[in-house]
């Protein structure tokens, strides 16, 4: 994996692509991101996380299944398909978005517009059912009695409840963009559409054509439509929100570069939804990926190989012998490496001990410097503030005042722990101002530099939230199963996720009478003679 990760602005040790044809495509892909590139052999698709904004637009995006047919099996990312829905503001913001949202906006527009159309259709249908008879045959319509007028109130309130419920469930900012269509939403959208269509058909044939005079019946029909819509909304809640709450799989996620592992419990989800859940947890739990820490093992590995060189004494064989020559060469190297008396473990041990010592020394100096720096400033109270307005500073100025005294120690410490590229001067000063403002102790200020925090703690350029690729052997819309393995690839590293089923726990009961707790001294001993 390391030989493949070449994205250079970011990754530390590979300045250039060790180009294979695949690489070139990949880097091109990064800029164009999702194109109709069908040359990837694996089913790899790109997941994006567009920035969040409140939504408009209603229940679902059926547009996506249509899109899917058009794109076939090409692995393209859908920027708009989100967990919950799309927004018109999103469309506006697309232009303000980062580099790679150029190609598929038409897809997003289509999805948004289709969902808006469906929403309006659903909202206006009951009203249309009620109003049309009055418009088309008002004279022949039998009057509406009290019960029927009561039903008007019921229709109004149910529509209001439906509106609020739809707002609560679907009008949320999309948290991620998934590669394939979200199956449940597509199903629900289809269901709603067919349902409303069938109601319209029935209405058109039995009521409009025959110009039914029983208005109460028509009102009851409209009420039944709204009831059924509420039940479909209940179905939507169960399918989209409730079903995956009960945990049934435990997923072990390992980062390929440094082996950080975490375990998460998820419910019944499709692979793409599980991938999104895992990525959200990744940003919180995993310490930030620091490529500078991986150089040591690479140099060791290089040294292992550099020590041996294989010569072919027998001269070049035929073409058919080339493969066997290569094989025998590698076997010879492995054998020679095994036999060689290698003292690299010794080097590693002493190097690590030395590094540890150096880090501790720098840390001690840093802690002392910071504590001393913090003693130079003092918060002043309100009354004092009025008295001497001369040399009063706001937090930012105070931070700038005390920063120079600790800057050197901090810089040295960051260099020793190879974190210096994660923190810029500006960010350090901002953090210092923040800590001063909230009365934090020097230890609290230092905490974010002594241990590497989660990725979200660092600047946006480290997040790479748009660069994730899901690689999976099974289809990404299929559900998780025992033993499913999939990869989430970012530029420099990848997360390997393995699934295990949570065991079925059988609990049995035993009753112990509280009065039965009695004890005696054990005085029976047995001696051998």
């Amino acid at each position: 994996m390391d030989t493949e990760s070449t994205y250079s602005g970011y990754s530390y040790h590979s300045g250039r692509s060790r180009g294979s044809h695949r690489h070139g495509e990949r880097s091109r892909d990064r800029h164009k991101s999702r194109s109709k590139d069908s040359s990837r052999s694996e089913k790899s698709v790109t997941i994006n996380a567009p920035p969040a904004e409140p939504l408009l637009g209603d229940q679902s995006i059926r547009g996506d299944e249509m899109q899917d047919d058009n794109w076939g099996e090409t692995t393209t990312a859908v920027t708009g398909t989100s967990e919950h829905s799309l927004s018109q503001e999103d469309i506006v913001r697309i232009s303000k978005d980062l580099d790679d949202s150029v190609g598929l906006d038409c897809k997003r527009y289509l999805s948004v517009s289709l969902s808006i159309i469906l929403g309006l259709l659903v909202l206006l249908t009951p009203l249309a059912f009620l109003v049309l008879p009055h418009l088309l045959w008002p004279d022949r319509l039998r009057g509406c009695g009290t019960a029927c007028e009561g039903l008007f109130i019921s229709v109004a309130f149910k529509l209001l409840i439906l509106l609020l419920a739809v707002w609560a469930l679907f009008f949320r900012p999309p948290r991620a963009g998934m590669p394939r269509v979200f199956v449940f939403r597509a199903l629900l959208a289809t269901l709603v559409f067919l349902f409303v269509l069938s109601y319209w058909l029935f209405y058109g044939v039995r009521i409009l054509d025959t110009q039914d005079q029983d208005y109460q019946g028509i009102v009851q029909y409209a009420v039944s439509l709204v009831d059924a819509l509420l039940f479909i909304h209940y179905l939507a809640i169960v399918l989209l929100e409730l079903r995956q709450l009960q945990p049934s799989f435990s997923i072990c996620v390992t980062r390929s570069t440094d082996g950080e592992t975490r375990h998460y419990n998820l419910g019944q989800l499709s692979i793409q939804r599980a991938a999104i859940a895992i990525l959200e947890n990744y940003y919180r739990d995993f310490p930030v990926h620091n490529p500078a820490l991986l150089t040591a093992s690479k140099s060791r590995a290089a040294k292992h190989l550099a020590g041996l060189k294989v010569y072919n004494v027998d001269g070049p064989g035929g073409n058919n012998a080339a493969a066997s020559i290569a094989q025998s060469q590698s076997r010879a190297m492995i054998a020679a490496a095994a036999r060689r008396r290698d003292s690299s473990h010794n080097e590693l041990y002493y190097e690590e001990a030395e590094h540890e010592r150096r880090v501790r020394k720098r840390k001690a100096r840093l802690v002392v410097a910071v504590e001393e720096a913090f003693t130079h400033i003092r918060r002043i109270q309100e009354e004092e503030q009025k008295k001497s307005p001369g040399d009063v500073m706001d937090p930012r100025e105070a931070a700038q005042a005390i920063f120079p005294s600790m800057a050197r120690a901090l810089q040295k410490y960051l260099r020793t722990t190879r974190q210096q590229h994660c923190h810029s001067m500006e960010s350090i000063q901002q953090h210092l101002a923040f800590c001063i403002m909230h009365n934090m102790t020097p230890k609290a200020f230092l905490e974010s530099y002594l241990t590497p925090g989660p990725t979200l703690q660092y600047g946006r350029e480290r997040w790479l939230a748009r660069q994730w690729t899901l690689i999976s052997e099974a289809s990404v819309t299929s559900g998780l199963k025992e033993g499913t393995v999939f990869l989430l690839k970012c530029i420099d590293f990848s997360l390997v996720a393995t699934t295990k089923k949570i065991p079925y726990i059988k609990l049995s009961e035993e009753f112990i009478d509280p009065k039965s707790h009695k004890f005696v001294l054990r005085l029976q001993s047995e001696t051998s003679v």
Binding site: V520, L523, Q524, E526, T527, S528, V529
Partner: protein, 125 residues
């Protein structure tokens, strides 16, 4: 084998003579004892009367001197070399049996089967 306090204890006993076996530095007899006046008599699996605090044989190692001499598991030891074993502590019993100066221990043991056999033979037909 219950006893009435104040009355002499009567029992049918068997004489068993065990020759101690020398193993390295120790003289072993090849059986284990349990019981004693400082122990809990209710846990004794071999006694008929669960208030009996006598010394019982809990285990006899196969082929050892005790097995050869005819000692059986569940026997109650009444005397060792003339010393009484019905009212001793566990540790005193152990010391009486493991005296280094003696090579031979002569035990008087009783067991239920002996009592039954005697009673049977005394019963009028």
């Amino acid at each position: 084998m219950s006893f009435i306090p104040g009355q002499p204890v009567t029992a049918v006993v068997q004489r068993i003579e065990i020759l101690k076996l020398r193993e390295g530095d120790n003289l072993i007899l090849g059986f284990s004892i349990g019981g004693g006046i400082d122990q809990d008599p209710a846990q004794n699996p071999f006694s008929e009367d669960k208030t009996d605090k006598g010394i019982y044989v809990t285990r006899v190692s196969k082929g050892g001197p005790a097995d050869v001499a005819g000692l059986m598991m569940g026997d109650k030891i009444m005397q060792v070399n003339g010393w009484d074993m019905t009212m001793v502590t566990h540790d005193q019993a152990r010391k009486r049996l493991t005296k280094k100066s003696e090579d031979v221990v002569r035990l008087l043991v009783t067991r239920k089967s002996l009592q039954d056999a005697v009673r049977q033979s005394m019963m009028p037909r």
